[in-house]
């Protein structure tokens, strides 16, 4: 098979490329250029930096596979960065890495596979895709602590048919060990934890630079509407946030609600963070089969799934959950199998 491997410069995608090559596939490595700073300069901190591209290039040279850099910066700006800004401006908490998967990697890049004369797209995600009974199943990766099936929960049969995740069967330390065995320079490279276009600074700094209008002053109130203080913009807050509220009330207070219309941030006690359930939008079903009723739902990238019940587009949790923000993703599981995913549009107390 001819495989296009998306190489981020990290050890997982390096090994993904190596495994495909060793299985006898014809591999082409690409790095996606997603973001340039305000003056067009490439990021030097965070993920997907110039030095990451250089790492990817070197690994490709070591593996003796062709390597190209593809410019997806326009698509990324529209699909990921602008959405990131708009979400915060409207009081939602975005997950840009999921949006990047949804719009750039597994949509726009995938749709160009034929142009690149490749049959499958390969990434270094820790997840497994398995063909069973005529369908592609998406499963958690072998390494529970590193499982990334959550960020792939929007994929359906259309995408899974043309995608492969070679490192999903390995634990992270096995991946590093394979890389070390091959002498790949990324074998011991630390993981990047930062959002690629935000880098190492706070996301608020990024918003202040790129979307100053997202900061419209307003009030901080408690759940009864009593005025507690003022703030400079709802974009600086996220549900469950405890620090930086600018109010000192003795006991810990948390952001429990963000009201875009009035630019009001509602602050409450810990127990007020609890919600009964969430309303969903952009629901996708991995196997092409709609589910309802009881299922396991995971709403954090690295968190245990909880028991929940789906009726229509409302998901109720068996036990009240805390600090869930609109804009986040929820992934549905049955054991290790991903059933589907959705975006949270609202929470219900």
């Amino acid at each position: 098979m001819r495989a296009l491997v998306a190489m981020s410069g990290g050890v997982d995608s390096s090994v993904a490329a190596a495994l495909m090559r060793d299985e006898g596939h014809e591999v082409v490595g690409v790095t996606l250029k997603l973001w340039s700073g305000p003056n067009g300069e490439a990021p030097t901190a965070g993920c997907c930096t110039v030095s990451d591209a250089e790492d990817a290039r070197r690994v490709a040279a070591q593996l003796q596979i062709p390597y190209y850099v593809l410019d997806y910066s326009e698509e990324f700006k529209g699909g990921v960065v602008d959405k990131f800004v708009n979400d915060y401006a409207s009081g939602r908490t975005p997950n840009p890495c999921i949006e990047c998967n949804r719009t750039v990697k597994f949509d726009q890049l995938l749709s160009r596979l034929d142009d690149f004369d490749c049959e499958v797209l390969v990434t270094g995600h820790h997840a497994r895709s398995v063909r069973e009974d005529g369908k592609w199943r998406l499963l958690r990766g072998a390494d529970g602590a590193k499982d990334q099936s959550y960020v792939l929960s929007m994929l359906t049969q259309t995408e899974l048919e043309r995608t492969r995740f070679p490192v999903g069967d390995l634990t992270k330390s096995q991946v590093r060990s394979v890389a070390g065995g091959m002498g790949l320079r990324t074998a011991n490279k630390p993981e990047s934890m930062d959002i690629c276009f935000v880098g190492q600074r706070d996301y608020r700094g990024f918003l202040a630079d790129h979307a100053p209008d997202a900061f419209r002053a307003g009030e901080l109130v408690d759940s009864e509407g009593n005025h507690l203080g003022d703030h400079e913009g709802i974009a600086g807050f996220t549900i469950g946030q405890r620090r930086g509220l600018g109010v000192a009330l003795g006991e810990p207070r948390f952001v429990i609600r963000i009201e875009q219309g009035t630019s009001t941030v509602v602050v409450g006690e810990r127990h007020e963070l609890e919600i009964e359930g969430v309303d969903l939008e952009q629901v996708t079903w991995t196997l092409g089969v709609e589910h309802s009723g009881d299922m396991m739902a995971q709403y954090r990238a690295h968190g245990d799934p909880v028991e929940a019940r789906l009726e229509g587009d409302h998901l109720s949790f068996a036990e009240r959950q805390r600090a869930i923000a609109p804009g986040q993703t929820v992934a549905f599981y049955e054991g290790d199998t991903v059933l589907g995913g959705a975006l949270i549009s609202a929470t219900t107390a």
Partner: protein
């Protein structure tokens, strides 16, 4: 690199590895080779040996020309350049502008050339240096630098005229007096010489501040230990190129014209960005509507055909060509354009392969 060039260079990496600035015998031999090369090069350009400053290549020469002229001039602080100049000229000019110097960038027409009237209008008593390239590296457009030099010197004798002739030496015969320039950049690797060896011609009476201060080599204009092997290679390459030039122009020019004809007839909506007249024999820049150059270049590479598009950014992705944008193409149109460059080693077979491959890929991608 031409094999003869490599052969001429080799001794200077081994037996004759002297520092040309030293006093002893080994050094003197290196110095001899350096100065002898300088004389031969000067003669080819119609210049005197003192007017040749050796540099590391075209970029350094362009930088030295612009910055050296401005830094040396206490009366004049302005720089005038065309919008389709090489990045080395444009970035040096922008740098000077950030320091507070006046910068004028003259627009180009659809063929990528500036008009002499526009140039004259921009030259003032504050202009230290004007830079106009002889052959554009992306499209191959040839500009009438002699006319520019004459007009500028007549309108304002205090302004220096620099020409980046990096792409020109391989295909045009000229002397520095014919061009009338005060400063001229050349680099070896564009005509079969080594990378890292180039020169700046500096007309007698023209004073530049050095960018590289130190031991005072090159009459104080460019300090640094000489790359003797590089200079020897540069001289050899220039001689061979000058001797074969008319054959290169007619042979490579025909191959390029054939390639152009084949592409134009097989792809009716293909647009040729390279101008139809007054062009180099070895560039062909074309736009293929509906096909992104990034994809086409990747596929061409997979098929063994090397083509390019503008310059690459730090991470390696193709950027939108500033030359094409200056010519009036939109960013999208610039992203549909690729550049095919022929060289002294290009064969008919290679042209046929390139043509067939390109035509079939375009059919597949559209």
């Amino acid at each position: 690199m031409r094999p003869e060039v490599w052969d001429a260079m080799a001794p200077f990496a081994f037996d004759s590895f002297g520092n040309s600035s030293g006093v002893h015998g080994v050094s003197r031999r290196a110095k001899d080779a350096l100065e002898e090369s300088r004389e031969r090069i000067a003669s080819i350009l119609g210049a005197s040996p003192m007017e040749i400053v050796f540099t590391s290549g075209g970029t350094e020469s362009d930088n030295l020309a612009l910055k050296g002229a401005v830094f040396n001039n206490s009366d004049r602080t302005g720089v005038v350049v065309g919008a389709s100049e090489h990045e080395a000229v444009l970035e040096a000019a922008h740098f000077l502008s950030r320091l507070g110097n006046e910068l004028t960038v003259i627009g180009v027409d659809r063929s990528g050339r500036i008009a002499v009237e526009g140039l004259i209008d921009s030259v003032t008593d504050n202009t230290a240096v004007v830079s106009v390239m002889l052959v554009n590296n992306e499209t191959g457009a040839v500009s009438d630098v002699s006319a520019f030099s004459e007009a500028v010197h007549e309108a304002n004798p205090g302004a220096l005229v620099h020409s980046d002739a990096v792409q020109a030496f391989g295909c045009l015969e000229f002397t520095v007096d014919q061009l009338g320039v005060d400063l001229l950049s050349l680099t070896g690797h564009k005509f079969g010489g080594p990378k890292g060896a180039g020169l700046l011609y500096v007309r007698e009476g023209t004073h530049l501040e050095a960018l590289s201060h130190g031991g005072g080599q090159e009459l104080g204009r460019r300090s640094g230990t000489h790359d003797v092997a590089g200079v020897v290679g540069l001289a050899k390459a220039m001689e061979m190129t000058a001797a074969e030039r008319s054959r290169f122009v007619s042979e490579v020019g025909s191959l390029r014209d054939e390639l152009e004809d084949e592409l134009v007839s097989a792809i009716p909506d293909l647009v040729v960005n390279t101008p139809a007249t007054d062009r180099s024999p070895h560039h062909l820049n074309v736009r293929i509507p509906g096909v992104r150059n990034e994809t086409l270049l990747l596929r061409l590479d997979r098929a063994g055909v090397a083509a390019s598009a503008g310059s690459a950014c730090q991470s390696g992705a193709a950027t939108v060509s500033h030359v094409l944008e200056a010519m009036g193409l939109s960013a999208e149109e610039a992203r549909q354009s690729i550049r095919l460059s022929l060289g002294w080693t290009t064969t008919r077979e290679e042209i046929d392969t390139a043509s067939d491959t390109l035509i079939s890929l375009v059919g597949e991608l559209r």
